[in-house]
Symmetry: C2
Subunit: 190 residues, 2 copies
């Protein structure tokens, strides 16, 4: 799965000038302040947000509770996938967790140039595959690991996340209540 990232990077590095030019022409740098929304629920996700710096999160509301579906860091792509693909209203919000700088890519323009530059089609596929494998793992983890193990694993894989992201978001990302997270942390802390 990590090898897949290398594949993606290698494709990106090998993009020719024309393709890069076309890509540049449909992208635009934007900045958001901490707390700002890159996308609201109900809006169509018309842009893919490539994160240049900062942290963002995707979440949705369920019974007045936020559920964070993804935490996004530098060089991650933030999109409300289903909305982006179907161009139907999004269930999800995308929000800046810190100040954020993104390169935003217009979906319809990207669709167009994908037909002209086959490397982009391949890139799109590879990135979608990566997200899909990530989703499969997330689903798997929810079924096989308890709250405490999911937290330990997050700590192991992204140890710095705790300093950068408030516990409320971590808890909702792990699919547990803030109180449960607090109790889990009390036990694990060394």
């Amino acid at each position: 799965m990590n090898e897949h990232l290398l594949k993606i990077n290698s494709i990106i590095e090998q993009l020719d000038g024309d393709t890069l030019g076309a890509l540049g022409a449909v992208s635009k740098i934007k900045t958001y302040k901490k707390g700002d929304f890159l996308l609201y629920q109900g809006e169509v996700c018309r842009y893919g947000f490539w994160i240049e710096s900062g942290i963002a999160r995707k979440f949705y509301l369920n019974e007045n509770k936020e559920l964070t579906t993804e935490l996004l860091f530098e060089n991650d792509l933030a999109v409300a996938f289903s909305s982006y693909v179907t161009q139907q209203p999004s269930q999800e919000f995308i929000q800046a967790v810190t100040d954020v700088r993104v390169s935003s890519i217009d979906n319809s323009s990207f669709q167009r140039i994908k037909g002209q530059f086959s490397a982009l089609m391949e890139l799109d596929l590879l990135m979608t595959e990566y997200y899909t494998m990530w989703l499969e793992k997330r689903l798997f983890d929810f079924h096989t690991l308890d709250a405490s193990t999911r937290y330990s694993q997050l700590l192991r894989d992204q140890p710095n996340i705790i300093q950068q992201v408030p516990l409320t978001y971590i808890a909702s990302y792990l699919g547990i209540s803030l109180e449960t997270l607090s109790r889990v942390r009390a036990k694990i802390k060394y």
Copy 2:
């Protein structure tokens, strides 16, 4: 999301003779008896299985319990996605729930012809997108719906599934114990 299926079908219908020929050359009809395994855990998923008839399921083992990750019917594609994409050993089994007839497509050959026929690259992307949206919905449902609601929804969306698939598989597909499913059914039954 259903519109996405139409898109996929329209691409399939518009495939030219050359592409279809290439596709046919890398596919092979196979049949399996009820209970047979199309793929074992630990094996690399070298084939995509397009189901011509019958029912299959994907599942993995966790603490000696089976967890069904997907139920597959006619015109579904059965693959252990992560294994198929990375060509690493699969966590999942694929098993025939009834007698099954599949058109199996060799992964490495498909990768090759994908580079030659761009419609196939696009088709691959569209089908991956469809699976990804399905996964997102599944994850969403697990977080937002209780056992009983998930069952009712399955009943609503695929009412005939109950006659065709043993309750053990349904339960594990819904991520609940067989006993809980039985209790849920006792209440809902009209």
